[in-house]
Structure formats: structure tokens, C-alpha cells
Chain length 199, copies 2
């Protein structure tokens, strides 16, 4: 009863995909076409289950009357204790409801965000409390701001490329100025800095 079965999770993921690509939730028969079902009742049953478990609400007797209840957004990962960002995606505490396509991130599954702690990037005008949206799997350029995994902690650094060699420059005196970039986990390339000014 609690939690989603693999099939239900797949249907929910398909609905989310369609909202990304077509901006419209799918119909029952479009769900059937995606999964090869031969009866619309199959998709309808999954929607009933997803609604009963609180993942979506339906407008009865309305075409495409599906509304997702858990709002979709970009996961905001605070200080990452260990592992890749993908591992921390499960703990979706905070979500940033901004379309990553605004900042040139085409695949939203590669987008994540970090809340900046401390003055690691004062030199690049990124300050404590700012939120940085990053793209994982992207290739950084010279002087790109990247999130790097050092000592099991994720910190922002400036990526440098010179004479075919790559370095990371820390903008914080607590870290050494230059760190070789190979053998390091670069988790993502920063695409935007967002600062919310509370009223």
C-alpha cells in the first residue's frame, strides 16, 4: 500500500516526461500506447492507484484531467556528504521550481542545485545563501564554475584549462589555490546563480 510499485512508478515517470515534452498530461490511451497495453482500463487502474496514494489528482470525466500533487522541480542539495549528486536525488527535500531550460540545460534530469554555504566563491560574486543551478555531465570550459567533490564534500571551484592541462582554482583561502582536476569528481557545471530576497 505504501510506496509505489515499479509499474506505477514507470507510469508516473511517463506522465512527468510528457509534461516536460508536450506540456500536457497524457490520456489513458496514450499511456496504453507507451506501455503496450491493449485496454484503457490498465492505464485507468494505474491512475486510480496513483491518485489513491496521493501522487496525483484527477478531474473526473475531463480529457487529460491529471494534476501532479508532488510539485516537480530541481532538487536543491545542500552540503553533499558523500557520493554523486545522483545518489542524493532520493532525498528531495527542497525543490527549485525553475525550468532549467531557461539557463540552457536541455535535459532536466541533469539539472540540480546547491545552496552555497560560506564564502567559497566570493571572487566570482557568489555569496552565502545563494542558490547555484548546475548541469551534471557537461564539459566545463576555461573559467567555468564547477561543483567538485573534494574530501567527500561538494564545493564550488573555478575550472581552468591551460596547455592541455586542467586545474581547479579555489576562491577560498581555506583551500589550496590550485588543485589538479584529473582524478576528481566534477559533479556539475554552474549555469546560473539565484538569490532570493525575502520580503
Amino acid at each position: 500500500m505504501i510506496g509505489l510499485t515499479p509499474t506505477q512508478a514507470a507510469v508516473l515517470a511517463f506522465i512527468e516526461d510528457r509534461l516536460d515534452s508536450h506540456a500536457l498530461p497524457p490520456t489513458c490511451r496514450e499511456i496504453c500506447a507507451r506501455f503496450g497495453y491493449k485496454s484503457p482500463k490498465a492505464a485507468s487502474d494505474h491512475l486510480v492507484a496513483l491518485e489513491h496514494k496521493g501522487f496525483l489528482a484527477r478531474d473526473p470525466m475531463r480529457a487529460r484531467g491529471i494534476r501532479l500533487l508532488k510539485p516537480r522541480g530541481i532538487p536543491v542539495l545542500g552540503t553533499i556528504a558523500a557520493g554523486l549528486p545522483a545518489d542524493s536525488l532520493a532525498s528531495r527535500d527542497h525543490q527549485l521550481a525553475i525550468d532549467p531550460a531557461v539557463f540552457g540545460i536541455k535535459d532536466r534530469s541533469n539539472a540540480f542545485a546547491l545552496r552555497v554555504q560560506g564564502d567559497s566563491m566570493e571572487g566570482r560574486s557568489i555569496f552565502d545563501g545563494d542558490i547555484v543551478m548546475l548541469e551534471s555531465g557537461a564539459t566545463p570550459r576555461h573559467e567555468s564554475v564547477v561543483a567538485a567533490l573534494i574530501d567527500n564534500e561538494s564545493t564550488l571551484k573555478t575550472f581552468l584549462r591551460r596547455d592541455g592541462k586542467t586545474w581547479l582554482r579555489a576562491e577560498n583561502p581555506r583551500y589550496p589555490d590550485l588543485i589538479p582536476a584529473w582524478d576528481l569528481q566534477i559533479q556539475g557545471v554552474a549555469r546560473a546563480v539565484i538569490r532570493h530576497l525575502p520580503p
Copy 2:
């Protein structure tokens, strides 16, 4: 042929409203119900006209197959030459596709954005090229960042309230430090700072 008739503009506005409130475009008959039409052909005709004029695209034979082509966003007003932000809304050159509700702006018609020029707000860590999202009609608090109209030019200032009197503090040496805030046009209160890092 060029431009929208008042009726067509009303239908387009209704579609935009429905996308905001229900996240789904309306059906032809829902448009009829809104405007009192007694035949679905009336709404269908308007959709054909709006499609022909390039404001939307339709998925034929699909329920709610309406996609807006001109993406909705927050107007980005550069340096405002004169007048209120509302006057400049007509020149929607750039649009910021970020939902203002993320930053606590409930009514999106009150949201607008400014691209920061110069170092007017270095003291508040807002730099040249940053985009500031603002809310018009809001009441600023002590030390809120506001856009004020001075000498027919829109600039960012810090709003100060002390002993019942209100002042504006410029964070740029080119302007006087303190300006009385009454008799001045405060165009909006800054809610967020956004910096796009190009790849």
C-alpha cells in the same frame, strides 16, 4: 490581418489564464462556456485565427491540443527611458521564463525584471549583467532593494525607513547618498537576483 482583434485577444488571454490556474489549456467548449458562445464553432474559429496569426499551434484531433508559441514570461525591461514599467510592457523584447511565484510574487501581472547596468548596487552584491525580478505595487520594508524612477531613469536603490520617514540610499558614488523617498516613483521591490552563466 496583422495583429489581434479585441475578441481574439480576449480568447488568448483566457487561454493564458487557464494555463496559469489549471495548467491545462481549455477545450473549445470550455472557451464557449467562458464567453457565452452557444456553438463550439465560435471558439474553433478563434483558435484557427490565432493559429493562422502565429500565436499558438494546435495538435489536430487532440483534446486540449493547444500550445502557445509566444512563450509566456516576465518582461525584462532594460534601462527605462521614461514612464512607469507598465508603459514599457508593450515592448516585450526579452522574456524571463521563470514563474514569479517561486519568489513569493503571487500576481504575475505585477512581476517584471530589469537587467542591471553598471555598478549601482555593488554594495548589495548585485552586479552588471545580473537580472533582478521585481514586484510592482508592493510595499517595501527597511533595507528592501527597490527600483526607483529618478530623472526619467530607473535605478536600483536601498529603501530605508527610520522614525516614520522614508529614504533611498544609492549604492553608487555617482548618485547622492540619501534621497527622500516621498514624491518618488517606486516602480517595484526586488524579490530575486538571477545571474545566467553562459557556457
